[in-house]
Each structure stands twice: as structure tokens, then as C-alpha cells.
Symmetry: C2
Subunit: 204 residues, 2 copies
Amino acid sequence: MQEKGLLIVLSGPSGVGKGTVRKAIFSQPDTEFEYSISMTTRTPREGEVNGVDYFFKSREEFEGLIEQDRLLEYAEFVGNYYGTPVDYVRETLDSGKDVFLEIEVKGARQVREKFPEGLFIFLMPPSLHELKNRIVTRGTETDDLITNRLLSAREEIEMMDLYDYIVENDQVELASERIIAIVKAEHCRRERVEHRYKKLLEVE
Amino acid sequence: MQEKGLLIVLSGPSGVGKGTVRKAIFSQPDTEFEYSISMTTRTPREGEVNGVDYFFKSREEFEGLIEQDRLLEYAEFVGNYYGTPVDYVRETLDSGKDVFLEIEVKGARQVREKFPEGLFIFLMPPSLHELKNRIVTRGTETDDLITNRLLSAREEIEMMDLYDYIVENDQVELASERIIAIVKAEHCRRERVEHRYKKLLEVE
């Protein structure tokens, strides 16, 4: 029986740089996982290519897929739908290849429910780290600014609970190396691989 | 407060090549963890240097350390003691550096009891993988040979249960890359790092 691939989900707060990190990962020559292209109803931006950056669909088409339950996750942002077609994900995993999703936090929550065994990576804004340093060193920030930052930090930190790994996006290269290492490591986790060897004993 | 380092334990069946893989890891220029040198009562082999390959001690000295509970783990093989001095490990972890141990499976079991939060990596003989292939393809092996191999495979597989990761030693370079990736990934595991960010909220 073909062993299934790993579902890798990269998410994190909006504006953290998920797309840039994802592109850095896929620009590596030895990246062995498949990128699942998202679907959207928004208008292509200049330079964006259908089937490369996104699958661009009409609202009607998108809502048809929602009704047929053919989206692994979807959400509406600023009047446009974004989602992940489920067929490609399932077929690729079944063929033994890893699938990489780069999605918003709301979508990641939906995927966690359907694929609890997935590998969930939270890309953390370095500002959270900086914030910590500023608070510790009691710098020049006004109290109001610190309070506002703490409020948004609270939201970001609460999002983290869903994830297996937290990767700080301090530098795109470092963040993408960490993610590649995480995928490599996960392929060695005992819970994931021991069944291969335990099966040996069943032969007796 | 200084964050503690990670205790990394590399172990596996005798003869699997733990020492060779450990040397390959430490020959990398950017290896950031500290190797904990084992202590032994056996005679140095040609070329072995005290304080580099092992700390060579007399039986009397070694038994003194056992009595004072100053060994993280120890065992006797073929009439000689082998063990890990605990002071170096604790001091290095407390200073925030990762410590790397390369020890026998019996020792790894003792360390797991004292440091359950350690990172335990089982180096797997590729023969186990080969064995699986041979059984699956029903090759030319005699039944006796297969039965014997299955018996020793059973022992090796039962050892795995204690570990977090299983790394196949198919090629030294590949095995050491996997181990380096595992350590990098572990430094991003949510359970290990979230407290840094959760502390932010306590400041309010």
C-alpha cells in the first residue's frame, strides 16, 4: 500500500509574509512537496497568472464548489472568496507526495478539523519578538502604544495554540530553512514511521 | 531568565554507526550544540585521546562517581563501565546551550527517566529496512535466516518506543542531515517556545 504524503499548512497573521516565505521554499531546487494553488474570486493583479498564483474563478463557480463540498477550506475577505480545492489535495496525498498549503488562519482552523494529522506551522511576525524585548528593556514607547501592541499580540498568540510549530519570520531565508527542516524532521517522527517497522513483526 | 538548552540523545542498536554519524554532525562548521564526552574504564584504543574520545577513568574513580550519583546514566559492557557525567550536562543546559549525547540504548532509557523532555533519536540500521523489502519480495533467504532476523528486528523495534524520532542510517551524510534538521525543528515546536510569547501577556 502506498504511504500517504504529509499535509503541510503554513499560516499566520495577515501581512506576516507567508507568500514570500512560500516562494523562497519553492525556489529551492530540492523541494519535494507539491504546492496546492488556492482558488479565488478576486481580480488577478498585474503579473498574476491563472493556475500559477491562483485559480481565478467567478463567484458563481466558487459558490458551486462550496455547495458540492469540494473545498478543503474557504473564507471571504473584503468581498472575495479564497479557498483550497480538496480534490487536488487528496489525490496528491494519496499518491504519497507531501502537499503544501499557504493559507489564512481561519482556513487553517478548518483544515485542522478535517486533517488533524497535518503539520501546522505558524509564521510569527518578528514584531512580537521585538515587542517582548521592548517591554523587557522598558524603552521609549508610550504606554498607549505598548497597550495596543499587547492587544494585537494577544490575538496572535491565541492563534498559535492550533499549531505544531512556530517559525519567526525574522529573515525570509532563515524562516524558509526552518520550515524545510521541520518537514524533514516530521518525516522521521516515530509516530509517523514506526508502523512501517511494526508491520515486519506481523509477518511471522 | 536564561532559557535552557535542549538535551539531544542519539542512540540505537550496537553496531549501527552512532559514532560515525555523531562525528559527521560535529564536523559541520555550524553545529551549535555541545558534545558530552562519555566516561569509561576501558583501555584507550590506539589514537584515542583522553578528554576527546572519552574521559578514561579507573574502576575505582568510576565507582566513586556512581556512589555520589554524579552520572546521568551508566552501564557495564564486557567488563567495562561507560557513563555520562551529569555535572557537565546540567551546567551546559543551564547556560542555554544544547547538549548532544551519543549513548547505548540502556543508557538512553535511564536518561529518559531523568530528562523526559529530552529529544530522543533512534538510529536505525538500514538492514531493518532491507529486511522488510526481502520479506515483502519473498527472496532467496532460507526460512531460518528470516526467522533469526525477525527475532533481532523485534528487539530493535521494541527499543524504538522510547524515542521521539527514528533516523535510518542508510548513508552517514543523509542520517546526519536528518538529525541536524530534527534539532532545528525542535527549536520551533510550539510546546517548547510558546511560553516566550505567552509571557508577553502576563506583563499587562
